[in-house]
């Protein structure tokens, strides 16, 4: 049995867990780890420019490739800079292992240089975390961390490792069993529950499926398609569920929620059965929860038992893995048709046509997204930030394949787009990756342009540049009488910034320049930035005002009759 240092054991175990890429930023507490990395050339380390970039890159990498994302940071400020990215991964159920250095063991708890209680800080935002106090525990704990991160409902796991543990030499045992008596994710759904659900599905007159990210995590696309086609069930998805059912499919009825399609929201309101799979009734999706799907019984399929009954009471809860459950369910349901019901939803779609971009010679963001879709044949992976551009990207691109829209849903982190696109491109290098950014959020992680340049990561970047914090401005327009406090942005000249980083770029000021610019971006090897100077006060529609029922969709920008009287009782923003 060889004697190895803690850092070496860590690297050996990472390789055994299938890790190929690490996003990180060095520092004092992780010097021994970084010094060991060159001994393991199978581990590619990508240096970012801010640890938040490392966390988001690991996140984007995980969502695009299906593997566990890994990031390194040093102690103190390095660790705290990861916090936003970890919280983001936690809320969107992304498998990630974050490794932070810590001050040496004798110094812990004494307010040392660059010491911070990162395990304490991350308790509420990680699936689990550890401080590894002995190199003897290293192999087992790292394996436990990966097991916890990727199984059940995926999530981030943080490992805090004191500097002297990296250097401690011990006998390397790699086959110690995991010690997790309290961790047992449920995989198979209860057969009686599945039978009950099948009965409801067979008898329903106006059923809908609401599919979320759980379908992608579980790899259940085929099973979902079979369910929908066999019983002719309309499929509606959440933001994070986009792509888990082909949007060009005749049974796809788009996204629900605050900015969802009107016909999807109306369908849910009128449904008598909602089959919710791998989604958690988040408030952006349901709007006012009291009265959501008021006429429907609810089948709730989720791997996390705590989500069932948390926001909405389920008539038939089924805990377990979506793919597994749908396989059983599909055998128990009957072939069926719902022609009249689907016809009704189609009628609503005709009455509220938002898929047509309004005719205009102004430079409209919806048009730009459409052109990106056309130019890539809908085969790109789109990574968005948060805000208006995120909603336009979700609504105006037709996503047919899973994991082709990567977006921060739960936490809604501005600045997610650039580092996550880096991670995605590294994870799926043969695919085209477009980052869609807003001029506000882009500046939050703009330093990662250096990472793109240094590593030559061929991400195409489209900045929806309107000189505003767009989504906030829209709310100020709709609910605060157009008082634009702290939303106008005197932005930088993005072309000069691109030039400073050594990245090819172009600017688009008018509609006719759009297609040539996109073509230029696609034809230029390597990274490319397009600064689209779009119509400044364009709004995202449809919209459901906060605190109102999901069926009260505002589709006409000039229709102010549905808006609440005062901004006061808006509730959660």
């Amino acid at each position: 049995m060889a004697k190895l240092k803690g850092a070496q054991i860590l690297c050996e175990t990472l390789i055994k867990e299938g890790v190929e890429v690490i996003f990180g930023f060095p520092g004092g507490a992780v010097l021994p780890l970084y010094d060991t990395l060159p001994e393991y050339p199978q581990l590619r380390h990508i240096l970012v420019r801010h640890e938040q970039g490392a966390a988001h890159a690991a996140d984007g990498y995980a969502r695009a490739s299906g593997k566990v994302g890994v990031c390194f940071a040093t102690s103190g400020p390095g660790a705290t800079n990861l916090v936003t990215g970890i919280a983001n991964a936690h809320l969107d159920s992304v498998p990630m292992v974050a490794i932070t250095g810590q001050v040496a063991r004798p110094f812990i708890g004494k307010d040392g240089f660059q010491e911070v209680d990162i395990t304490g800080i991350t308790v509420p935002i990680t699936k689990h975390n550890y401080m590894i106090l002995k190199a003897d525990d290293m192999a087992r704990v790292v394996r436990e961390a990966f097991y916890i991160a990727r199984t059940g409902r995926p999530g981030p796991v943080l490992l805090d490792i004191p500097k002297d543990v990296f250097e401690e030499e011990v006998n390397y045992k790699d086959s110690e069993p995991l010690d997790l008596p309290g961790y047992e994710p449920t995989f198979q759904g209860h057969p009686l529950q599945i039978t009950k659900a099948a009965k409801l599905i067979n008898e329903a007159k106006r059923p809908v499926i609401i599919a979320g990210r759980g379908i992608s995590i579980s790899n259940a696309y085929e099973e979902l398609k079979e369910l929908a086609e066999k019983a002719q069930l309309p499929v509606i998805n959440t933001l994070l569920g986009i792509g888990c059912f082909p949007e060009s499919h005749i049974l796809s009825f788009g996204m629900l929620g605050m900015h969802g399609m009107a016909h999807a929201n109306l369908a849910i309101d009128a449904a008598d059965l909602v089959i919710a799979i791998g989604m958690r009734f988040d408030d952006r999706a349901t709007s006012k929860i009291a009265g959501f799907a008021a006429n429907a019984q609810i089948i709730h399929i989720d791997i996390d038992p705590a989500e069932i009954g948390k926001n909405l009471k389920a008539t038939v809860p089924i805990v377990g893995d979506a793919k597994n459950i749908l396989q059983s369910l599909n055998q128990k349901i009957e072939s069926n048709t719902h022609t009249k019901w689907i016809h009704q939803i189609e009628e609503w779609r005709q009455q509220h046509p938002l898929f047509t971009v309004r005719k205009s010679e102004e430079l409209l963001p919806q048009y730009i997204i459409r052109q990106i879709y056309e130019s890539t044949n809908g085969e790109a992976t789109i990574v968005t930030g948060v805000g208006q551009h995120q909603m336009w990207a979700a609504l105006h691109y037709c996503y047919d394949k899973p994991n082709t829209l990567i977006s921060s849903g739960g936490l809604g982190t501005m600045g997610f787009e650039l580092p996550a696109a880096i991670g995605a491109k590294v994870g799926i290098p043969d695919d085209i990756v477009w980052a869609i950014a807003g001029d506000g959020g882009f500046q939050m992680t703009i330093q990662e342009l250096a990472t793109i340049a240094q590593e030559d990561i061929a991400v195409k970047i489209a900045i929806m540049d309107n000189g505003y914090l767009g989504m906030v401005r829209q709310w100020q327009e709709m609910f605060y009488d157009r008082r634009y406090t702290a939303t106008p942005l005197a932005g930088p000249d993005f072309l000069k910034i691109a030039e400073a980083y050594g990245i090819a770029a172009t600017r688009v000021d008018s509609k006719i320049e759009v297609i040539p610019a996109i073509q230029q971006a696609l034809n230029t090897p390597g990274p490319f930035i397009i600064d689209f100077r779009i119509e400044p006060e364009e709004n995202v529609y449809p919209m459901v005002a906060p605190g109102t029922n999901i069926a009260e969709v505002i589709t006409d920008p000039r229709d102010r009759s549905i808006l609440p009287e005062k901004a006061g009782n808006i509730g959660s923003l």
Binding site: D179, G182, A306, G309
Partner: protein, 190 residues
């Protein structure tokens, strides 16, 4: 029954920071907890927690399910509707004067069968154990004399009679060696 006090018992791995994780979860999810007690369980390496939850203001089922997500929590059960014995220990320091001390001692020792564990010219310390109602009654009766200090443990509870789910689980742990290889798990329950 929404207004009932619920008693949850939890088997947890004895790891540093477990109590922190549990209380952090309580705070973050805004659960209303009456008391929480923890001590070593029968099985080495495991501790047993008893949480009293106010069912009127908190969704007890959510408490149970969110706690279960904590990796170190091995098993959690709501034993409110089982046949349980619940007890609490209190040490009550009450003001006393020559004229009141007799009455205090009579109430404590004769009526409540509590123990007098300290006696000074100005104060008496009474030790009482019993179910929550009994402890509360004594405290209320003594309040009139002037309470100096109150040390309460919070409720612990155990099921009567045959093995409850937690006990069965502990037995299983003690029997088998530590292994964890399967990725798939048992069928859904609860």
């Amino acid at each position: 029954m929404a207004t009932m006090k619920h008693t949850l018992i939890m088997l947890v791995q004895d790891r540093p920071g477990v109590l922190n994780r549990v209380t952090s979860m309580i705070r973050r999810r805004n659960f209303n907890i009456d008391s929480i007690t923890v001590g070593h369980s029968v099985t080495p390496g495991f501790s047993r927690m008893v949480i009293s939850v106010d069912g009127a203001t908190t969704a007890v089922e959510q408490v149970r399910k969110q706690m279960d997500k904590i990796v170190e929590v091995v098993k959690i059960t709501d034993i409110t509707n089982e046949n349980i014995i619940s007890r609490e220990l209190a040490l009550i320091k009450v003001e006393s004067t020559p004229s009141t001390s007799q009455e205090i001692i009579r109430i404590a020792a004769d009526v409540f069968r509590a123990n007098i564990v300290d006696l000074t010219p100005d104060s008496i310390v009474i030790e009482i154990s019993g179910d929550e109602d009994k402890v509360n009654s004594l405290i209320e009766l003594l309040r009139g004399f002037g309470l100096v200090e109150l040390a309460r443990t919070g409720r612990i509870a155990i099921t009567r009679g045959e093995l409850g789910p937690l006990q069965k689980h502990e037995q299983e742990i003690r029997k088998k060696p530590k292994t964890q290889k399967d990725k798939k798990s048992k069928t859904a329950k609860k």
